[in-house]
């Protein structure tokens, strides 16, 4: 069966090459039938890839250990869900998964555009197939998921998935990110097509609006899920560490967010066309780059970066994309030029322009920090990496700038904003923001960044609330609707606008959550039964430690009472586990326990034990405002779904 899978991939590669040839002939000699043939070939590639992915899935589920990939990432006792998830656990499988998602997206794009006779389509399909070609090349020749085990026997059991990774969020994290990464290929394809045929007006931008939001949504979910997993599973008490792999997912998100906003201006005012081209090309390149960073193991030591074949092939692909895109943008620069000019700095157009500049600058800073080890290695012979404070030093002020824009931008008028509008729109939110700063200052927060963040957050909350309030009020006055009906009707008729506001609301909540990081506290203690320790006004008593024997691990379960003002507010049960005890796969794991609160999380880790002497190492952290980050995440998702939700077409 593995042979079937491998052959499918061979066929797909060949067919993809053929597709490009046929489409080229169609474009050159204008034979209409060949467009249809080419289209069907592209669909054929999609079908072959889907069948290949299905084959690998079946092999995984059936535990066919004669296949190297199956033997490495599953074992007999791996639960079914994680046998499925093993599809994207390893390098070869995840590239096939990338291909699978792209194949499905390509097929959808083809079906979506059946009726519309757009002259962009041959080029769109060519680009989509071209990207698939690269990945098909990789899975056929560089990292093939179907290769048999390198031994002359069939293993009796596989190595299995690390129990650390057998966690719901971790299973979902790669596919959500890929749905996003791959999703940006579609707008990219349309952008290239538009450049080639020199039709760079609003049409292509309008066509890809939903795709862009869809890709952005999944990318955002993927990033947040990653942070959630780190916080809830890894036990260091944080959700973001500016680690190269995290940065690799964040950078395309930054340019992608700029793009999502910037295309609004192109659609309405026919400006920022060149910006949009550069933004989508950068986003796509960064997605490919991100996939490479995550799957190549270049993380811990940059020495492996381009040394191996896998890295070199990805690098070559990235360079080809950049070269072709640059050529197209430069040769089409006349059509990309805008006929209109920006008049005032206090206008909606300029707000979006500043937005672009700031997002791209932040992306540059993160890129610099991520690539610096490689750059320093090449230039100075020594690998120098950058510690976390570097990123925070740049990201925090830029983040605050963006937060300000989120509040100010939507209320500026086109071309220029009159003083009257400014006063009318910003007086109250300004007062709220300043008031918030005063209140928090009095409450004891004296550091500048937390104060500014809170002040700006409340400012933006003020502007968004005012927007909702005014919108509802104007409807209730005009149409005599009640509050709720007005809200629903208003949101439904202006999904982009109000969906967008809800997303911004989510971002504001997340910033409030980030403020909490400045006030984290922790304590480490070695305790015996009955001992207690204190932190931030809470008293933690180790009541009991119980031994438990479970199917694949033994555990020591601690019972930690949490008291405040002499009242027990919670009991935490962090665990110290040993997986596969007394085998050569024995592994320790601390399963943390935490209590989530709106104001703070109480976080406990059972990090070590000397059971015979009854001594247990417990680490406790108080992490304020983390809940707000997840709340913001929910709002972000909800707002985007509203913005994407299609309207019923009027016949």
């Amino acid at each position: 069966m593995a042979i079937y899978g491998a052959t499918l991939l061979n066929l797909a590669l060949g067919l993809a090459v053929l597709t490009q040839i046929v489409l080229f002939i169609h474009i050159r000699w204008r034979d209409e039938r060949l467009f249809h043939v080419g289209q069907r070939m592209a669909l054929g590639v999609s079908m072959l890839v889907t069948l290949a992915a299905a084959t690998l899935t079946v092999l995984l589920v059936k535990s066919a250990f004669e296949v190297d990939y199956v033997a490495h990432f599953t074992s007999k006792e791996t639960p079914l869900l994680y046998k499925f998830a093993a599809l994207w656990a390893g390098q070869a499988g995840s590239l096939l998964f990338w291909l699978l998602v792209l194949s499905i997206y390509s097929a959808v794009v083809i079906f979506q555009n059946q009726r519309k006779r757009s002259d962009l389509m041959p080029y769109v399909i060519a680009v989509l197939t071209g990207v698939q070609l690269f990945f098909l090349f990789m899975v056929n020749f560089s990292t093939n998921p179907f290769i048999p085990v390198n031994a002359d026997f069939i293993p009796s059991d596989g190595l299995g998935l690390n129990p650390l990774l057998q966690n719901f969020a971790m299973a979902l994290h790669p596919p959500t990110l890929y749905l996003g990464y791959v999703g940006f290929t579609v707008p990219f394809a349309f952008a290239i097509a538009a450049l080639v045929v020199r039709r760079v007006d609003a049409a292509w931008v309008r066509g890809i609006r939903r795709w862009t939001l869809f890709a952005w949504l999944w990318q955002s979910i993927g990033i947040i899920l990653g942070g959630w997993w780190a916080y809830n599973e890894l036990g260091w008490g944080g959700y973001w560490a500016w680690d190269p792999v995290e940065n690799a997912s964040f950078m395309p998100w930054l340019t992608g967010t700029a793009f999502v906003h910037s295309i609004i201006i192109q659609e309405k005012k026919e400006m920022l066309k060149t910006w949009n081209m550069i933004l989508i090309i950068s986003t796509f390149v960064l997605c490919i780059f991100g996939t490479y960073i995550t799957r190549s193991g270049a993380v811990s030591s940059v020495h492996a970066f381009t040394a191996d074949k896998f890295g070199q092939l990805f690098l070559a692909f990235v360079l080809v994309i950049i070269a072709i895109s640059a050529y197209l943008v430069i040769s089409r620069r006349q059509v990309l030029k805008s006929t209109k000019r920006m008049e005032s700095m206090l206008s909606r157009e300029s707000g979006f322009l500043f937005n672009n500049v700031i997002f791209v600058s932040l992306c540059f800073a993160v890129l610099w920090g991520t690539l610096f080890p490689l750059i320093s290695l090449k230039l100075m012979g020594r690998e120098i990496s950058v510690s976390i404070p570097f990123y925070n030093q740049i990201a925090i002020p830029i983040g605050l700038l963006l937060l300000t824009l989120a509040g100010v931008g939507p209320l500026l008028a086109w071309r220029r904003t009159s003083k009257e509008s400014l006063i009318r729109n910003f007086s109250i939110p300004l007062v709220i923001g300043l008031g918030a700063i005063a209140v928090f200052f009095v409450m004891g927060i004296k550091s500048i960044y937390p104060l500014m963040t809170l002040g700006l957050s409340f400012f933006v909350l003020g502007t968004i609330s005012m927007e909702f309030y005014r919108g509802i009020r104007s409807r209730t006055k005009r149409f005599k609707e009640n509050l709720f009906t007005a809200l629903v009707a208003m949101t439904s008729r202006n999904r982009s606008r109000y969906g967008g506001y809800i997303v911004h609301l989510g971002i504001v909540f997340m910033f409030i959550g980030f403020v909490g990081k400045a006030f984290d506290s922790e304590v480490e203690a070695t305790m015996s039964r009955g001992d207690h320790t204190e932190l931030a006004g809470f008293k933690f008593t180790l009541q009991e430690v119980e031994e438990k024997v479970r199917p694949n691990h033994n555990a020591l379960v601690a019972e930690l009472n949490v008291e405040k003002d002499n009242k027990i507010v919670d009991t935490l049960n962090p665990e110290f586990r040993i997986y596969f005890p007394r085998t050569n796969r024995e592994q320790q794991h601390s399963e943390l326990d935490l209590q989530t609160g709106i104001m703070a999380d109480i976080y406990s880790v059972f990090s070590g034990a000397d059971h015979t002497r009854g001594l247990y190492a417990i680490k406790i952290m108080i992490n304020p405002l983390v809940w707000w980050v997840w709340l913001g995440g929910y709002f972000l998702v909800a707002g985007t779904i509203i913005a994407i939700w299609p309207r019923k077409k009027k016949e």
């Binding site: 066929l11 209409e32 079908m47 039709r199 209320l411 009318r424």
Partner: protein, 93 residues
């Protein structure tokens, strides 16, 4: 044996699916550039009209001062009339 059969079957189905258009008697003709131009103009007109409505809504809500609203409306109506002229030109040619 099973694998070979599956491969042959897949291949056969694919080939049939792909070459079908070459034998089709009726092929849809691709729209020519004039239609595309018209389409672009119509799209522009729709976008401008939508913006006029939006400006009305914003003024109603109180976001846009009277001064800004008048100016925005004038600007958009000018754009709209230019586009409508272009559309009429296209229609005649």
């Amino acid at each position: 044996m099973f694998a070979e059969i599956m491969i042959l079957l897949t291949f056969a189905v694919l080939v049939i699916f792909i070459v079908q258009p070459l034998f089709a008697t009726h092929v849809a003709i691709h729209s020519d550039t004039e239609d595309d131009e018209m389409q672009t103009l119509q799209l522009r007109k729709e976008i401008i009209f939508r913006q006029i409505k939006e400006a009305e809504m914003e003024h109603d809500m109180g976001n846009l001062s009277d001064e800004d609203y008048k100016r925005t409306r004038l600007m958009l109506k000018e754009e709209a009339s230019l586009i409508i002229d272009d559309i009429e030109q296209q229609g005649k040619s």
